[in-house]
Subunit: 158 residues, 2 copies
Amino acid sequence: MNSKKNAPADALDTFARFLQDRGLRMTRDRRAIIRQVFEVHAHFTMDDLFIALRLKGERLSKTTLYRNLPLLVESGLIRRVPGESSDGRFEHVLGHPHHDHLICLECGREIEFSCTDLETAQDNICRRYGFHPVWHRLGIWGYCRRCRARRSVKPKER
Amino acid sequence: MNSKKNAPADALDTFARFLQDRGLRMTRDRRAIIRQVFEVHAHFTMDDLFIALRLKGERLSKTTLYRNLPLLVESGLIRRVPGESSDGRFEHVLGHPHHDHLICLECGREIEFSCTDLETAQDNICRRYGFHPVWHRLGIWGYCRRCRARRSVKPKER
DNA sequence: TCCTTATTGCGACTGGTTTCCATTACCAAC
DNA sequence: GTTGGTAATGGAAACCAGTCGCAATAAGGA
């Protein structure tokens, strides 16, 4: 029952331990932040989080977020999403399996995928360079099936 | 003589064409920017570029850089260096073939590599999704050989 | 419950980037 | 070469995300 299923509660425990180890305190705001972060399975910005929490009736300030997200990162519960276009975005780590993205330049849609061949090729590269990988991020930009179809109808466009 | 060897001149031509196509003008400042960018084979920030140009006696303003670098990016001559830690950095593209990055979380070093298996795997993915790729970007974060060696000396660390 | 000290909110502040607008300079047409 | 329409530019002001200082608040161990 206290298994992996309850990510928010697990994360709360982990964070509580992390705080205690460093003589910091668990507060209402911190609890709310953790809960929110692990309830939603998507990337988020400071502002996303702020708005979501305010909508839930939490009265914390942005300053508090700016002060606490670095702690969450340090604790390993969340991480900044690497990659230029995802500047200022975070994602939680527990229960968020790895995936990469196809991003459509026309409609902006992001398609998630994962591919073992890709992972294998990456492992090979890392081995070749004596590099110990921790995580990676691959984005492929281009045109999705839907937009290509639409395009082919009026090929003169552009 | 007018071969690939002269990157700055080639880039200047390319950019001139790019500008003309959009009804924009080639100016002294733009020429100076291109020349500088293609003379130096290294990542650079707005400020690096500004200082370098000023040292060369150019009297352009930062505003001009902020206005023109996006054009260079659009023209494909330079690109923003991906990766969180290299926020705000650019690199030129001509004579800088496609590559991906291994980024060390400890020392920050970026190792460039390219790998056909990886490209192949990506092509397969795209085919599977009916996606037409235009470009991609892969970053692998982890620990480089050097830092791992240093670490293994004091294995209790972490 | 008390008391120490971490946490918080607010407003001021910062550094990087963008915008405004008056002036300058391209460059195509004469 | 001169002219005219319009893009480009510089400098200052505005903007914005993120940070800091400080007084008030609230964890949580004694």
